[in-house]
C-alpha cells in the first residue's frame, strides 16, 4: 500500500535515530564509566599514600584500624606479603550498606606496606562507587525519553513543514484532476517557491499545451476535411440527379446512376456525423437550458412513428416521472435520436421497443438479432457489431461525445432478457 511521502521518510528517520542513539549510548556509557573509575581509583591511590604516611608517623593507627569503622579502610597484619608490595589491585565488591539496606557496589584497593620495623601489612581501602545497573537503567530511561521526544518532534515538524512544503505539489495534483482534455484553461498552474515544483508545474503546462495543440489541429482537420467534402459531394449528387432527369437513359444506366448516388449519399451522412462530432467537441452547442427528456422522447417517437408501424414494432412507453436535465436541447435531441434510431434500426421485425422514463433516468430497451454487445467497444468510432453497411459506426460514439460534455449524465449498457438496454442516468 502506498503511503504519503511524509510518513515514508518518518519510518526511516525513526529507525536511523534509534540506531544512532543506541551506538551513542554505548559509547557514552563506556566513556563515562571509564572516567568515573579513573577518578575513584585516583582518589583511592591518594588515600593510600595518606594512610601509609600516617601509619608511619603514628603506629597506633595500625592498631585502631583492624576493622572497617568510620574509616573506610583496614590494616591487617600478614605473614608475608606477595612479592610486589607496592602493587595496587582494584576490585569491585558488593557490601551491605545500612543506608540503602542492601548490598551496594564498592571500589576496593588492596595493597601492602611495611611498617618502620619492617613488618608487612595489608591495606584495604574501599569507597562507594557508581551503581552501574541503576546508572544503566537511568541512562536507558532518559535516552528512551529523549528518543521519543526527538521522534515526536520530528513527526510534528515533518507534519507541518513537509505538509507546507508539499502544498504546491498537492495543489498541482488537484488542478490536474480538474483538467479536462480539450480545455487547456482547465489546468491552473501553481506558483511555488520550490524549484522542483515549479519545474514540474512548467513541464505539465508545456505538455498540456502541446497536447492541446495537437488535439486542436486534429479537430480542425476533421472539420475542414468534412467541410471541404461538402461541395464536391453536392456537385456530384446534383450532376447525377440531372442525369437521371434525362429520359433517354436505359434501365441499366439509370440503376447504375442511382447506385452511385446512394453511395454518395452515404458519404454525405458519414460526413454529417463527423461534422456533428467535431461540432460537439468544438463547443458549438453551447447554450444550456432545462430540457424535459419526456418531451424530447415523445417528439422523437412521433417522428419515428411511421417507421415503427412499418416495422411492426410493439412500442411500450412508460413514464414514471419527469426526467429533466440542464443541458443543450439540440444535443439532447441528437443523443436520444441516436439511441432510439438504433433501437428501431436493429430491432427484429415485429420486435419490441420499451422506453421507460423515470425522474432521474431514461431506459431504452429493444429486441435485436444481436446477442450481448461488448460494452468496451460499442462507443468507439467506426465500431460495427455485424457487417452493417447501413451504419456509419458513429451513432454511439456521438452519444458518448455528448455525454462527455455532461459529467452528471451516465450511460449504462446491458443485455437483459434478450434485450439491448441503454440507460441514461442522472447522478
Amino acid at each position: 500500500m502506498a503511503i504519503s511521502v511524509k510518513n515514508y521518510t518518518n519510518r526511516f528517520v525513526s529507525i536511523a535515530i534509534l540506531i544512532v542513539m543506541a551506538v551513542w549510548a554505548a559509547l557514552f556509557y563506556a566513556v563515562i564509566m571509564d572516567e568515573v573509575y579513573d577518578n575513584i581509583d585516583d582518589g583511592l591511590k591518594n588515600q593510600k599514600i595518606l594512610i601509609i604516611r600516617e601509619a608511619y608517623n603514628n603506629p597506633k593507627l595500625i592498631e585502631e584500624s583492624k576493622e572497617f569503622g568510620i574509616n573506610q579502610f583496614v590494616i591487617k597484619e600478614v605473614e608475608n606479603l606477595q612479592e610486589k608490595v607496592d602493587q595496587n589491585t582494584f576490585s569491585k565488591e558488593f557490601i551491605y550498606m545500612p543506608y540503602d539496606e542492601e548490598e551496594e557496589p564498592y571500589r576496593i584497593l588492596r595493597t601492602g606496606f611495611y611498617d618502620p620495623s619492617g613488618k608487612p601489612y595489608q591495606l584495604e581501602i574501599r569507597t562507594s562507587t557508581v551503581e552501574e545497573d541503576d546508572f544503566l537503567l537511568n541512562l536507558a530511561i532518559s535516552l528512551l525519553v529523549l528518543y521519543v521526544v526527538i521522534v515526536l518532534s520530528i513527526l510534528v515538524i515533518n507534519h507541518y513543514i513537509l505538509g507546507r512544503a508539499w502544498q504546491p505539489f498537492k495543489q498541482i495534483l488537484k488542478n490536474l484532476s480538474k483538467y479536462r482534455f480539450g480545455k487547456a484553461n482547465s489546468f491552473v498552474s501553481v506558483e511555488s517557491p520550490v524549484l522542483e515544483f515549479n519545474d514540474l508545474n512548467n513541464h505539465i503546462s508545456q505538455m498540456i499545451d502541446q497536447n492541446e495543440k495537437v488535439f486542436d489541429s486534429q479537430k480542425r482537420f476533421l472539420e475542414n476535411a468534412a467541410h471541404e467534402l461538402q461541395t464536391p459531394l453536392a456537385v456530384s449528387i446534383n450532376k447525377l440527379e440531372l442525369l437521371l432527369e434525362n429520359s433517354s437513359l436505359n434501365e441499366e444506366d439509370t440503376v447504375g446512376i442511382v447506385e452511385a448516388k446512394r453511395s454518395l449519399q452515404r458519404m454525405v451522412s458519414l460526413n454529417k456525423s463527423l461534422l456533428t462530432l467535431s461540432r460537439i467537441n468544438n463547443q458549438q452547442y453551447a447554450g444550456y437550458e432545462s430540457v424535459t427528456i419526456n418531451e424530447v422522447i415523445a417528439n422523437l417517437l412521433n417522428d419515428y412513428e411511421d417507421l415503427i408501424i412499418y416495422k411492426d414494432i410493439r412500442l411500450d412507453l412508460q413514464q414514471d416521472g419527469n426526467f429533466e436535465v440542464y443541458a443543450n436541447p439540440d444535443l439532447m435531441q441528437i443523443l436520444f435520436s441516436n439511441l432510439i434510431s438504433n433501437a428501431i434500426k436493429y430491432n427484429l421485425p415485429a420486435g419490441e421497443l420499451r422506453v421507460r422514463i423515470q425522474s432521474d433516468a431514461a431506459i431504452i430497451s429493444n429486441t435485436s438479432q444481436e446477442k450481448a454487445l461488448n460494452p468496451e467497444y460499442i462507443f468507439e468510432r467506426f465500431y460495427k457489431g455485424s457487417q452493417d453497411h447501413n451504419s456509419n459506426g458513429l451513432g454511439l460514439s456521438i452519444v458518448q461525445t455528448i455525454l462527455e460534455k455532461y459529467p452528471f449524465l451516465h450511460i449504462k449498457y446491458s443485455y437483459q432478457n434478450n434485450m439491448q438496454v441503454f440507460e441514461i442516468k442522472k447522478v
Binding site: T254, Q284, Y310
Partner: protein, 223 residues
Amino acid sequence: MKVLIVEDELALQQGIRDFLESEKFLVETASTYLEAIDKVMNYPYDCVLLDIMLPGGSGMDVLREMRENQVKSPVLILSAKDSVADKVAGLEIGADDYLAKPFHFAELLARLKSIIRRNAQDGEQLLQYKNVSLNPELREVKIDRNPLVLNRKEYDLFYYFMLRPNKLQEKSTLAETVWGDHADQADNLGFIYSQIKNLRKKLKTAGADCDLQAVYGIGYKLI
C-alpha cells in the same frame, strides 16, 4: 420566375442552373461578392439562392446589404456550413430559408416554390395535375371538387410528386426529404414502398386520374 444563383463553385452553379431551367425558371448567376451585390441591387428576383462563402466577402454581408437597402427579394441560403448558429444568424438578418449542402434538387425546388409562394402577391397558387389539385397554403388535396384526406407525411410525399409530375422521384430522396434523417435506415426502401402503396390506394379509391408508377424499382413518378 426569375432566380439569381450566387455560388462560386462553378460546377454546382451550372448544375443548379440546368435544373432550374428545366423547371422553367429564368436563371441568372453571380460568382463573387461584388457581382452578387451588383445584381441584387439592380434587379428584382423572385428568389436569390445565396452561398455563404464567396470570393471577396460573405453571403451574409450580401444579405445584410440587401435588407439595409430595402431590397425585398426573398433569399434562400445555400451553405456548406450546416451549423445551427449559422442558420439562426441567417434567418435573423432576413433570409427566408436555409438549405445545407449537399441537397437534392427535389428539395431545393420544394423550398424555392414555397418561398416564392409565400412572397407572391396574388396568394393562391394551386398545383394542378389531371383531376387532382393541391393547395400548398391550406395543405389540401382535392380530386375534382372532393377533398382527399391525407395524413401529414402522405401529404408531404404527394406534394413532391405534384411539384414535378411525370418526373422520376427517387426512393431514397423521398425518404430523406419527407422523413428527414429518421428514415436513413436499413429498410427505408421497403418503408417507402409501403407508404407509396397507402397513397396509391387512397388516390385510387378517391377516383383520381393520376397514379404513382414504380420506375425500375429505383423510384416513382406521378403519371
